[in-house]
Symmetry: C2
Subunit: 158 residues, 2 copies
């Protein structure tokens, strides 16, 4: 894709997230984008490693929750920039953290395939954005999640 | 502690979980126990690695959700054995998977300290057990979570 990933527009000092930070080489480095066909929808793709197992053959739910979390906060940041009419990454950073994360496991998620996460916005306020996320594997909806993202308080900046 | 960890009593073919499986050397290997002072309460302790960062100084929420997940399903298994009057690990395995995971982040979780997870049971049925979990760092309640654990269906066994 020609877009920059939402997470790659985070400033360097806020890019150490284990789930999605470009400056965390041991992390998952999830990357989220605007969906190029579906309006107001965000997308991320991720292929788990062989050791991200729940039981053999299926992906660990904690990883799936993590991907939903980072796709949610990344989507919130992108939406905040969009609402403000600003380019992604314009300073000061509009970075969001997770207030609450609710995940429902609908079907076991198979190993060995690329997972697709689709995010849609159910609430948009300046300091709070709610994102509903579907996680799909092989065309099957495996997990649904909701991320309540809140604008990062200045006290969390390093 | 002289107790065996709940997760270490899982049979070998169900011990590959990235969060808590003794047979997953790349995983977190979370270990849960009955609390020795508090009745009907379970406990797990975990010290995150330096790369489990959210932003510098704070622990990644996806990891915390993962720990809550595995402490919940482990606690459910232990409670199922207890209710049945059986020793942990007695065959056939009473292993639980996560139906839903709800996590609320109350305060940023600091890096560099041991985290304590306390689990209490709010619903106990043969096939469904609900566990409420508090995650504490330095005496501060940082995260609360609820795990709706369902007995592992036979179709998920390898």
């Amino acid at each position: 894709m020609s877009q920059i990933a939402f997470q790659d527009a985070y400033p360097d000092d806020l890019s150490h997230c284990y789930g999605c930070g470009k400056n965390n080489p041991q992390g998952h480095q999830l990357k989220s984008y605007w969906h190029e066909q579906k309006p107001e929808t965000t997308i991320a793709r991720f292929t788990p490693q062989s050791y991200h197992t729940a039981i053999p053959g299926f992906v660990y739910g904690g990883l799936l929750a993590s991907l939903i979390d980072c796709h949610g906060t990344g989507s919130a940041s992108a939406m905040a920039y969009k609402m403000a009419g600003l380019e992604l990454g314009t300073a000061p950073a509009m970075r969001f953290v997770t207030g609450a994360l609710n995940v429902s496991f609908k079907a076991p998620t198979p190993m060995g395939v690329e997972l697709q996460l689709l995010g849609r916005f159910s609430q948009i306020k300046e300091r709070k954005i709610v994102i509903d996320i579907e996680l799909i594997a092989n065309g099957v909806l495996c997990v649904t999640g909701q991320v309540i993202a809140v604008k990062m308080p200045a006290t969390m900046h390093s």
